[in-house]
């Protein structure tokens, strides 16, 4: 179950936010019937969704807020980066689905790295507070959950 799996994940990895895990994975239609393997894929899919939402928000910011030059450039870069984040999580899902867990976790780690590059770009542009702070935080937390649950698969 979502609750027991999230509990096990949090117990195995201190980076896992138990409440966040239950709340986010529990929203998915497949979750109630999913085993550990299924929940690892749900976590990856959740990462895809967050990345796509980030891309959408970036486009909205660029269109509506009309940011200054440096911030605009940083946001454009972030749009490309989060696009890649989404695909990295998608590939993670595919790898996990094909029982290639090490490769799946590597893709999740790649997603984290890509999102961090966006944070760095925004920091350089002095975009404070970061307009993508929530997406960035979510990305890290869901990645931790995905990796921890993947490690639990027997």
């Amino acid at each position: 179950t979502v609750v027991t799996t999230c509990r096990a994940a949090a117990d195995s990895d201190a980076r896992v936010d138990y409440a966040f895990c239950v709340a986010e994975l529990g929203m998915h239609r497949e979750s109630p019937d999913a085993d550990t393997w299924g929940l690892a894929k749900v976590a990856a899919l959740t990462g895809v969704n967050n990345a796509d939402n980030a891309v959408y928000d970036i486009k909205a910011l660029l269109a509506n807020k009309r940011p200054d030059g440096p911030t605009r450039a940083a946001l454009e870069k972030c749009g490309r980066l989060y696009g890649s984040v989404g695909f990295a999580f998608a590939e993670a899902d595919d790898e996990i689905n094909n029982r290639r867990y090490a490769a799946g976790k590597a893709k999740v780690a790649e997603a984290v790295s890509l999102a961090r590059q966006c944070d760095d770009a925004l920091a350089v542009a002095a975009a404070v507070p970061s307009p993508l702070a929530q997406h960035s935080s979510y990305n890290v937390r869901i990645a931790d959950i995905c990796i921890a649950i993947t490690n639990l698969i027997k």
């Binding site: 899919l45 895809v48 695909f87 998608a90 595919d94 689905n97």
Partner: protein
């Protein structure tokens, strides 16, 4: 009305047309029979009634018979195949050794007509994703994976290319079912 029935009625025309009908039959059967099987030509009797007495044909049919009889021989040969096609009759089977056959021309003509009918009727369709709500993207990706062999990454790439063909060569029912699923997921798909 079957071809055999038409033939019987033509045989029962007025006396003034009997001889002409004999000429028709001689061309339709004797000539074709001789050509197809090498059998000797057989001259039919002046009055030929193989199916027994029947009601007399209408004036319209008699007039038609007269017009047919007036055609040149090469056109008279085309009557039977044309009738087969127009009356939606299957080509007759050749009678081995007896020679009552309409030959390849009739079969080819009928087949060509049916091929044209089939060609005019569209029987396979493609489903095209036109657009989707951004919030529904994941749902649509998941739905696409239910009727394709795509992984998540491939399905995501496909959706992001919209408008894009999702699946080809479907029956109408299959296409409509997929369109319904895409619609339920928050996208717009059409049949092409």
């Amino acid at each position: 009305m079957s071809l055999c029935t038409i033939a019987r009625r033509l045989c029962l025309s007025k006396p003034s047309s009997v001889n002409r009908l004999s000429v028709i039959w001689a061309h339709l059967y004797s000539t074709e029979a001789a050509k197809d099987t090498g059998a000797k030509k057989y001259k039919y009797p002046d009055v030929y009634d193989p199916y027994g007495p029947m009601s007399l044909p209408s004036e319209k049919v008699v007039d038609l018979a007269d017009r047919i009889a007036a055609l040149p021989p090469e056109e008279i040969k085309q009557i039977a195949p044309a009738l087969l096609f127009r009356l939606n009759q299957e080509p007759p089977q050749a009678i081995s050794g007896q020679g009552f056959s309409f030959g390849a021309q009739g079969g080819a003509g009928v087949g060509a007509g049916k091929a044209e009918e089939k060609k005019a009727e569209k029987t396979v369709f493609d489903v095209k994703l036109e657009k989707f709500d951004a919030a529904a993207k994941i749902k649509i990706i998941k739905e696409i994976r239910t009727f394709t062999d795509l992984g998540l990454k491939e399905a995501k790439e496909l959706v992001e290319k919209a408008p894009v063909i999702l699946k080809q060569s479907l029956t109408k029912d299959e296409a409509e079912a997929i369109i319904g699923k895409i619609k339920a997921a928050g996208g717009v798909a059409v049949m092409e």
